[in-house]
């Protein structure tokens, strides 16, 4: 196990290195942030001063070296725009995004798994067919469009839920969360559902496929021959086997929820990381982009690690090994 964790950590560090090189070179090629940040009327002296203060006058490999040495001591640089540490900027926004992502995932699981199981057990029933039709809609309709329709319907027409922003927060262990205030919850509901729609559809389809497949297997037939009631067969024998492929996908999806909730955050003016990164890209705010991507990589690695560990708990045939 410790060997496994070690090799995983090394992999993560390597990924971080490769990613940072790519981003550095990529951003260098795209353009000069000074051109975007400074007004065209700036004097050459002002220009030079800004360039020097950002360290952009040095050759790119030297800039990268400087970035690396600082990164090792936990300093990912100051934002060109806000002149604050990039890391702090992002960490301030992170609770909002994480909250949104986890609530969306929870909604996805709570609706997706039971509906998927039902559709898998009774594939020919009318309810199952309606569920499957819904899931096709969930897959194919663009998130932004559904988001706008939801705002129109629930905020504008019915006036039930607020259309934008994050509601009141209370600090839970020092982290400001809106989940535990009524106002916060009402603000959270629409964006979370909007994000969750695609996940619900995905989880329904995966669960249904898993149940359909597992129900055909020999051990289900044997469980029936043992005289077990159908309820127990589904809950104990089928469910655990169905969860196995689901865990991997859910893990990856959680990662993408956190990292790329941009569209939903924009529509609902949710003050999360997504909005920050979009703004940072627009002005080539390199420290923020880099810090954001590094956090994303670390987050994906952690999620993948958790998925693997969970996987090995659910499926005894999987053993965590140094290089797997």
């Amino acid at each position: 196990m410790s060997g496994y964790l070690l090799s995983r950590s090394i992999q993560t560090v390597l990924t971080l290195l490769v990613m940072s090189v790519l981003v550095f070179v990529g951003l260098y090629l795209v353009g000069n942030p000074v051109d975007v940040l400074l007004s065209p009327t700036a004097t050459p002296a002002e220009r030079l001063q800004v360039i020097q203060s950002f360290g952009l006058d040095k050759p790119v490999w030297e800039q990268y070296g400087l970035f690396l040495t600082r990164a090792l001591s936990g300093d990912l640089g100051n934002s060109f725009v806000f002149n604050q540490p990039a890391l702090t900027l992002i960490l301030n926004r992170m609770p909002a995004t994480l909250e949104l992502a986890f609530v969306a995932l929870l909604i996805g699981l709570v609706f997706g798994i039971p509906l998927g199981i039902y559709a898998g057990l009774k594939p020919k029933s009318l309810v199952s067919k309606s569920v499957m039709t819904f899931s096709i809609l969930g897959f194919s309709l663009p998130t932004f469009w559904i988001g706008l329709v939801m705002v129109m319907l629930f905020s504008v027409k019915l006036g039930w839920l607020p259309a934008s922003g994050r509601g009141d927060t209370v600090p839970i262990f020092g982290v400001p969360l809106s989940l535990f205030t009524l106002d916060g919850l009402s603000h959270l509901l629409l964006p979370a559902f909007n994000l969750a729609l695609f996940k619900i559809s995905l989880i329904i389809r995966l669960t249904r496929a898993g149940v359909l497949e597992t129900m055909q297997l020999d051990f289900v037939r044997f469980a029936r021959a043992k005289g077990l009631p159908e309820r127990r067969i589904v809950r104990v024998h089928v469910l655990k086997n169905t969860l196995i492929p689901l865990i991997t996908v859910i893990g990856l999806e959680l990662g993408s929820l956190i990292a790329f909730a941009v569209v939903t955050e924009t529509i609902f003016a949710w003050p999360g990381m997504g909005k920050l990164i979009i703004d940072a890209i627009a002005v080539l705010d390199r420290p923020v982009i880099l810090a954001y991507l590094m956090i994303t990589v670390v987050m994906f690695s952690i999620i993948n690690l958790l998925v693997d560990i969970l996987y090995s708990i659910v499926d005894p045939r999987v053993r965590l090994e140094g290089n797997s």
């Binding site: 029936r224 021959a225 043992k226 045939r317």
Partner: protein, 601 residues
């Protein structure tokens, strides 16, 4: 006869296939008495398993229709509401299936899979059920049962899993055990252990057994009465003695004549064809003796010397080699043209790896291999292609070794064109010829593999192997997946082809009875080594090595009057896994007769 435990009358089962009802079991009736063992025997598609599933009502209700009566303990099972049926399943009637590897849920602990039955049917508490589970595992002779409750199925071998499955089926002292091909997927020595176990438990518990199998050897070994099924009909019912002594129905006779019987070739030194039965009259047609095909005066077509193939097992952070599977260890053999050398042994003994290493489908570690005088291991890419032209391989599963999307004519023509033996047009003609050679017709070339039966597909595979006019054919379990009667036909075909073209066969098989029919010589493999090699007659009639003797004793004999009371050891098949620093010992062989050698311990 006393009141039967189970009485089946006029059972018919239909399946809905594409909107139409197709009848697969037709008007079957038979009884099972107390403590009696009834075997239902037939080939694939005969409806024997469907009969068993119908009794347990395990067929999906939407797609199947079961009519007739099944009386068990005063109730007609077909009329019972599902809940009452569930309290009979696993409780009054236990059932075990063919595949021990898939009958158990891979993600639940063995203990839980046993106790859930006890808790559900016998209302035990969890701790009572656990104690009972230990007792059950001990009953099916699983060593250190208590410590194994918390293990998962993957930690058990095939034979051990089947024991667990039996323990579950017997958990509630059922009156009837339905065993659906319970030993088919197991090695022969393990099969003997399981059969022995079922017999012993039957005596101890006083239950009846419904035994479903395709193997007449197993029937002869275990059953009191036998029902022969053919295409959904029960064509013959009688005591096992009667059926083996004087079968009345032509199909039963055909089935019996096709059954390879160990010991039926005593005194003969050449291979022997299977007799064919005329299905109309039921008459046995005389067997044409095989010609002497072995070319003793020319050099061997295949010469293998000290072949070693090992697979590294790597583990840990640095992927260091912690050990090796010694799949093939110092194997030497020779095969002459027109000769059949059989490589026999149980799963994991390295016989298939030997076959694959010979034509370099698997990389050998050391040794030399010569095919028709050409060195295989040092051959370059183009030389290897030439060598593979002369040595073709036929695999076990005719369903998987043909690409389902390629017409069989194209599949057979492909090697001819690739090796530049003929142009596309000429190859087409050759394909027709080849198909006729293997007993199919030239017009079938346009068909896809799914349009053929299993036996026909294996013929197609043989035609494809013959396309390059090889001198050597490596047949890896080529007839193992086939029904007995089809198996007999394919063996006869292989013998015909050997006579005509002087083919050398390296026949890899675990089926001792088939091996006895087809081979000139036999090599017995155990844990990657040849422990005994010699003329078939010598090895079968005068086995020297302990393992050979054990193997021979485990083969079921298709003759109920020669039913043996034997003591089978409960040994598992050992693993050829060795530590990384293991140095294989020097082996020495002793001669027992002309060309007959066995390994000294």
């Amino acid at each position: 006869m006393t009141t039967p435990i189970l009485s089946i009358s006029n059972l018919s089962t239909s399946f809905r296939v594409g909107g139409e009802w197709r009848n697969v079991v037709h008007d079957v009736s038979f009884d099972i008495g107390p403590k009696e063992t009834v075997a239902v025997v037939g080939e694939s598609g005969s409806g024997k398993s469907v009969t068993a599933m119908s009794i347990m009502r395990l067929l999906s209700p939407g797609n199947s229709r079961v009519t007739g009566r099944i009386d068990f303990e005063g109730k007609n099972l077909l009329d019972l509401p599902l809940e009452q049926m569930q309290s009979i399943r696993g409780n009054r009637i236990g059932m075990i299936f063919q595949e021990p590897m898939t009958s158990l849920n891979p993600v639940l602990r063995i203990g839980q899979q046993i106790t859930e039955v006890l808790v559900h049917h016998r209302g035990m508490s969890q701790s009572q059920a656990e104690a009972e589970a230990v007792r059950l595992l001990e009953k099916v002779r699983i060593p250190s049962a208590k410590s194994r409750l918390n293990e998962y199925p993957m930690n058990f071998s095939g034979g051990m899993r089947q024991r667990v499955v039996i323990a579950i089926a017997l958990a509630c002292d059922p009156k009837l055990l339905i065993a659906d091909e319970p030993t088919t997927a197991l090695d022969v020595t393990i099969q003997a252990q399981i059969l022995e176990l079922i017999k012993t438990l039957q005596d101890e518990e006083g239950m009846s057994v419904l035994f479903i199998t395709h193997d007449m050897g197993v029937v002869a070994e275990i059953s009191d009465r036998t029902v022969v099924m053919y295409r959904g009909d029960a064509v013959e019912t009688g005591t096992t003695q009667e059926i083996f002594a004087g079968a009345k129905h032509p199909y039963t006779r055909a089935l019996l004549s096709a059954v390879p019987q160990l010991g039926s070739m005593t005194g003969l030194d050449r291979p022997l064809r299977f007799p064919q039965v005329d299905m109309a009259s039921g008459e046995l047609q005389p067997v044409k003796p095989t010609a002497d095909t072995v070319k003793r005066d020319v050099g061997p077509i295949l010469k293998v010397d000290k072949l070693v193939t090992r697979f590294d097992i790597k583990k840990g952070f640095l992927r260091s080699t912690i050990g090796r599977i010694h799949a093939v260890e110092g194997v030497s053999l020779e095969l002459k043209q027109g000769e059949t050398l059989s490589l026999v042994g149980e799963s994991g003994c390295g016989k298939s790896t030997t076959g694959r290493s010979i034509i370099r489908l698997t990389d050998a570690r050391s040794g030399t291999i010569e095919i028709d005088g050409k060195n295989v291991l040092s051959a370059g890419k183009s030389q290897l292609a030439g060598i593979r032209r002369e040595a073709q391989m036929i695999f076990q599963d005719p369903f998987e070794s043909l690409n389902p999307r390629i017409r069989i004519g194209d599949a057979i023509a492909e090697p001819i064109v690739t090796h530049g033996l003929a142009g596309v047009a000429e190859a087409k003609e050759r394909v027709g010829e080849l198909l006729e050679r293997v007993g199919l017709s030239a017009s079938m070339a346009d068909r896809f593999p799914h349009e053929f039966s299993g036996g026909q597909r294996q013929r197609v595979c043989i035609a494809r192997a013959l396309a390059l006019e090889p001198k050597l054919i490596i047949a890896d379990e080529s007839v193992s997946a086939l029904d007995v009667s089809v198996k007999a036909q394919v063996i006869n075909l292989m013998l015909d082809l050997q006579e005509k073209y002087g083919l050398g066969y390296l026949f890899i098989s675990h089926d001792m009875a088939v091996v006895e029919r087809i081979s000139h010589r036999v090599a017995v493999m155990y844990l990657g080594e040849i422990v005994e090699i010699g003329p078939r007659q010598a090895v079968f009639e005068n086995p020297q090595h302990d393992y050979t003797k054990r193997l021979m004793a485990a083969v079921p004999i298709a003759d109920p009057s020669r039913r043996q009371t034997r003591r089978i050891s409960n040994d598992e098949i050992k693993s050829p896994f060795r530590a990384a620093n293991y140095a294989p010992p020097k082996r020495s062989y002793e001669q027992a007769g002309e060309g007959h050698f066995f390994q000294l311990a």
